[in-house]
């Protein structure tokens, strides 16, 4: 007998393969990985062509780019949920043994797993920065929760896929926290403390500096991510 999750996963895989979402799910993160693999070459090219030294910005580039696949997975699953919502699939599932909560759990776990593992793959396969493994896993957990936050952000406030798309434009603003943390040399950068990527940027910086504050970033950052996730979850379930 098949479990409801297995049936859902098979359905999603068929959907992904049929409408070529797979291409985007693979191509986007793959493009980022290739870009990061060639980062040293690109740095040299830009240095010779424009005299611009990007090496001091490497930590920023790596931390910023390593979060993009998470955003992509969040958007892919967000759009799948929105499509299914518009086609009333969610209403049908809510009367099956899986129920709405089971459906949502599955739809959130997938982008989380994909984002967390892709993050670790990108960081350790490219070896562009030396990141302590425990710190890396801690950041990967935040990256994973952030993907679920992204997915929920698209679906919690939108009536349909068109509104979801408008929200996806606003979702990108969340990642502004990273340049703010890296480049705003003032304590004013703390105004972005409520944007989840703020804590990831802080964790990257403190981990590289071997600062004790890394544990504060990981602990508070995960708590902040969980808080935001719970808020969006409540909004989404409250609206259904």
């Amino acid at each position: 007998m098949k479990t409801p999750v297995a049936v859902l996963a098979r359905g999603d895989l068929r959907l992904i393969a049929r409408d070529s979402t797979l291409v985007m799910a693979v191509f986007g993160p793959l493009a980022i990985t290739i870009l990061l693999f060639f980062l040293p070459v690109i740095e040299t090219l830009i240095h010779t062509k424009f005299g611009l030294d990007l090496v001091p910005f490497r930590l920023f580039i790596v931390s910023f780019l390593s979060l993009i696949p998470g955003m992509l997975f969040a958007m892919i699953y967000g759009f799948i949920i929105l499509d299914e919502h518009d086609e009333d699939v969610i209403d049908f599932i809510s009367i099956t043994p899986l129920r709405k909560a089971g459906y949502l759990t599955y739809k959130l776990i997938m982008p989380m797993l994909l984002s967390g593992s892709f993050f670790l793959f990108v960081i350790y396969a490219t070896s562009l920065i030396q990141l302590n493994l425990i710190h890396g896993i801690g950041i990967a957990i935040m990256v994973a929760i952030e993907a679920a936050i992204g997915t929920l952000f698209l679906v919690a406030f939108s009536e349909n896929k068109v509104e979801g798309l408008a929200f996806s434009k606003v979702l990108g603003i969340m990642y502004l926290a990273i340049p703010l943390v890296f480049f705003w040399n003032s304590s004013w950068h703390w105004i972005s403390v409520f944007l989840p990527p703020f804590w990831i940027a802080k964790a990257f910086i403190h981990s590289q500096a071997s600062s004790i504050w890394i544990w504060g970033d990981l602990f508070l950052g995960t708590a902040m991510h969980l808080g935001v996730l719970q808020y969006f979850l409540r909004v989404f379930l409250g609206r259904q």
Binding site: I16, T21, F79, I80, D83, N160
Partner: protein, 230 residues
Amino acid sequence: MRLLAAIDRDIRFQFRHGFYYAYLVLTVLYIITLRLLPENLVHPALTLILFTDICALGFFFIGAIVLLERGQNLTQSLFVTPLRLHEYLLAKILSFLFLSLLSAFLIMLGGSVGGQDLLWFIFGATMSALIYTLFGLVFAARAQHVNDYFVKALGVGLLISLPIFAYLRLFDTPLFHVFPTRATLILLDVLSTDYTISDKIFSVASLLIWFIVLSRFTYKRFDRYVRHPA
């Protein structure tokens, strides 16, 4: 009259679905970014903002709009009214043009960015916005889901954006002259860079040709797959 009513309907629809709010936030952020950048980077940044986002916003949104309208059988109902297919399509591209130009104008005003050859620039921004939405419509006609639309549209979108490498002076080939994006980048960049008159005329001609070709192609696709689906 029917066209104006259709444009009005589309603008209201976009407003109701939060596009104007989303672009208000983005416009403010772009203005802040332009104001923070050093003088020599302002114009290149403006060109890239317009090229990657503001002029291309129709391309980004049109897939979901057409999908939603098709899902709600709105397109079927629309075409039994006196509204003609070309009016439906024109309303779509002109309503997005309005949002693009409004946002571009506010960004330039807020960022105090101006420059030479303003007429060439306005023509470039207008035609680019129209062409990008038409590109989106070509794929929207047959897309099954939002992700499906993005895969197909973005694949081609990335391909036709290759002349960005020439703009960044990383790689160039005469083949790029065929791409509409080459013309877009030249005309969006005329504010601060001196291009030869032949470059500018070639870009205008290129955008006009692309517009005519894409308009006809989009009309055929919609006639076949949306107005008379099998």
